[in-house]
Homo-oligomer: 515 residues x 2
């Protein structure tokens, strides 16, 4: 069943539920799968090995976190790439290569286990910067400290985003090797040293290995995915993002101040590029600031399909109390005072046009009486299937031209993440879910997250890999001070041992999933 966009937007939540034909139900592992794989002796031995090596595994997190790798400062990047390469060698990767780019280098590594299945694995080895005086424990010390209600945690820049998390994954893989001698899947690692700067050159890391990566069966991201209450939210993809800067200048317009601002008293005789930008932006959305008036912008959107509607319906019926908790901390009400279910529907299925930045003239305290010679706005349009970045830019151009603003320049910004989506039926997704269920966790599965990521570089042609991410564990305060990853854990949130064990489970689940 598919709905036209118009029909879809007319649906009430109740109607959407019935249109979806009840709860989503096709998430079931093959008969005996848990016993044969997840509870097998082989996996239990690896679990035990992890528990026994807890101290050594904690030390590994500390070693990786104590090596700085702040991409925006250029701090420790080469050294961290070297350390990462040594980890891949310890994992028995025969190919470990530093990949030069126009920015910080990437890393390629390949572990050939002689296994039937091959996964693609993305690693970012850089971190955000830090202001040490804001931290309660030094960001490069990676100390084990107490943090209620989680018990011991490691506090460090990169603890959860992503170096600490990746070190836990390396621990898990090494444990498999130490017990079994080989991994259950082959792994191609592609690593980014500029994630925190927008992964500007990451395509240069992928390019030389694209043909190799085509041999992968799936793209898998392991890491701590629980929230503070132990709940799991899975996103099967993300929206695309078309980011542009609109620049209106007197120079390009041929009117108003030409090369620099002019005294504001001259507004009596001079046109204003700033007023012009406001008039141009005004044509792009309706009075509510929400409905987009760029002609054709909604046309490429395909209606939600049956699977998406079922996933949506399940979210609304089973997880309604925690779907928008984070968003509510900084918002009183949704657009049009929508109920949460309606908001979730738009978050998943709707495009949006946002002003991320806007500026002209003097923006400091007090007044500077100037008539600015230019004004600019940064906009982002979130794209749902089948909206694409380039055609969206073209629609904006056509809209501005049609309204007489041919002089307003459109400058594309950002790496250009297209939308990305994997079917819930993909084995890589199903295996992750089967592990969650083994731990008694029912994940809230979003057919699509509202955010954007470079994941499309793996999931869209030419690679077209199904992708999933998951694993137990918890960390928080990425990009902020006192970033941490949980080591001890509690009855809701996994500590380092259970988290690493869950990564082993997922690898074995995927290796053994039929198909």
């Amino acid at each position: 069943m598919t709905l036209s966009r118009k029909d879809f937007l007319k649906l009430t939540t109740a109607a959407a539920a019935s249109a979806a034909g009840g709860f989503f139900s096709f998430l079931d592992a093959p008969a005996g799968f848990a016993e044969d794989v997840l509870r097998s002796d082989r996996v239990r031995k690896i679990h035990d090995h992890i528990a026994k090596n807890r101290q050594r595994h904690i030390a590994r997190l500390q070693e990786y976190l104590r090596q700085p790798s702040v991409s925006s400062w250029g701090m420790g990047i080469q050294e961290c790439a070297g350390l990462l390469m040594s980890y891949f060698k310890r994992l028995g990767c025969k190919e470990v290569e530093l990949v030069r780019t126009d920015g910080h280098p990437g890393v390629w590594a390949y572990h050939d286990a002689g296994a039937p299945k091959t996964i693609s694995f993305y690693i970012m080895y850089d971190t955000q910067p830090f202001d040490e005086k804001e931290w309660s424990s030094p960001p490069l010390a990676a100390n084990v400290v107490k943090l209620a209600p989680f018990g011991d945690v490691i506090m460090a820049r990169g603890a959860v985003n992503d170096k600490g998390a990746d070190a836990m994954v390396f621990n898990a893989m090494e444990s498999i090797l130490e017990v079994e001698g080989k991994l259950p899947v082959n792994i191609m690692f592609t690593c980014d040293g500029e994630e925190e700067q927008g992964s500007t050159h990451f395509h240069q890391v992928l390019a030389p290995y694209r043909d190799r990566l085509k041999k992968c069966n799936a793209h898998l991201t392991l890491g701590p995915s629980q929230d503070a209450d132990g709940n799991i939210r899975m996103g099967l993809g993300g929206k695309g993002i078309c980011s542009v800067e609109l620049v209106c200048s007197g120079k390009a317009w041929g009117r108003g101040p030409q090369n620099r601002p002019i005294h504001s008293s001259r507004k009596a005789i001079l046109d204003s590029p700033t007023w012009r930008l406001i008039k141009a932006l005004n044509t792009m959305v309706k009075a509510d600031g929400n409905q987009i008036l760029i002609e054709g912008l909604y046309d490429a959107i395909r209606p939600p399909n049956q699977e998406e509607l079922e996933l949506y319906n399940t979210l609304i019926q089973k997880f309604s109390d925690r779907l928008l908790v984070g968003e509510k901390q900084n918002a009183k009400t949704w657009i049009n005072d929508w109920p949460d279910a309606e908001a979730v529907r738009h978050l998943i299925f709707d495009t949006s046009l946002n002003i991320d930045g806007l500026w002209s003239g003097y923006t400091g305290p007090g007044m500077a009486t100037i008539l600015p010679d230019r004004a600019a706005a940064k906009l982002d349009c979130r794209l749902v299937p089948n909206q694409e970045i380039k055609p969206t830019q073209d629609l904006i151009r056509r809209h501005l031209d049609k309204h007489g603003y041919s002089d307003i320049e459109i400058i594309p910004i950002g790496g250009g993440d297209e939308w990305s989506q994997t079917s819930v039926k993909a084995p890589v997704v199903q295996s992750v879910v089967s592990v969650y269920r083994e731990y008694g966790i029912e994940p809230a599965i979003w057919p699509r997250e509202a955010g954007s990521s470079p994941m499309a570089q793996y999931t869209r042609p030419p690679l077209s890999l199904p992708a999933a991410d998951g694993g137990l564990g918890h960390g928080d305060r990425a990009h902020s001070h006192d970033e941490f990853i949980v080591i001890e854990g509690n009855d809701k949130v996994a500590g380092i041992v259970r988290a690493e064990q869950s990564y082993v489970d997922i690898l074995y689940a995927y290796a053994n999933w039929p198909g």
Copy 2:
């Protein structure tokens, strides 16, 4: 003859000229005035005295300029106020007082010459900051250097704006005292140490002396007023300025992000204060960005009167080649491709609504994907008689309310300069013009400048003083590096001697003008 605004705006330039009844002609000194006053032995002796003391006068400029007084850095302010007070004592002022304010102090001084007429005289003793490495001669050295085509100049911060200029005036006044023993007029000096910071506290300097200042007959500003070609432009007043900041926040609106920006992917479910500000601003002007749609904003404007039309007409007919020379350096064309005469008409007689600054969200390089919780704009509305600041703010408030934007906050900014205007018939204006004519210069007289100044604090009630400014001499690059004042001069531009002589002339002209 007066015209309605509507009729006035319909006038072609030619019609305006004929409506004004030909050239302006009532600028004539009383019979024999030049011989009796400007060429009198008394004045000639003072001229000679100035010529003889040229070196000492130059040293005085250097002394004052070498004393720093950068108000924004708080550098040398107290010391400069002290030096200024010593100058007033040398001028025989019996009252010399430092006036405390909530900012930098002002100075009050009164020279009682026992003369029939009293003038009010404004002095600013602070300067802009400077970046020494940009200067070809150190900004605090006040060296005499060669600068073509003017010969010797003094290069220093404050050389022309205004300390060097004021030192020349003090030289001129001292010369009168040294020759005559007393000045031809009494003078009340009110001095500002924060002009370069917007004269925020200057009303606190005036307040204690307001009743004294009411006894003045006129407000006179002496200083170098020639451009590089020796031409003189006189402005008989300025427009008022109503400056406001409009702030649209999610908090005040009760919608969208409340306390901080939120991830821009949430635009799909959240309203945007930035789009709202754009929609609100959009209602304030027509599509051209020029015609103001704030209801009632044009209502208070009185049509140009006969004197203004005659002055305007004279400007157009006699000075058309140099009226807008400065403006043309940074502008290709005026609004609606007006001819210059039409532009001048709007510059003098029209109100305007300008966006001086506009900002929201992230304005740095690249992209930060945020939905901002606030957006703001700085606007200034230039006011012509009889528009006033407070009623204009009220009209903006009413407009926003009427269009449903009651939540958008209006924050008044700036000192609040009202419009100011003196009739060309005022004796203080006529005496200045008579001196120019004595030197063979026909001034271009603008009934009103497009800019704004705190002059209204003297010219509007309660003081209601007629005001004029003038004098020979030239300087340039105020606020920029290599600021200078001409010492030597050439056949077009007066050097220090002729400039100081012209200030003496103006004082005697005004003292002896009938009425």
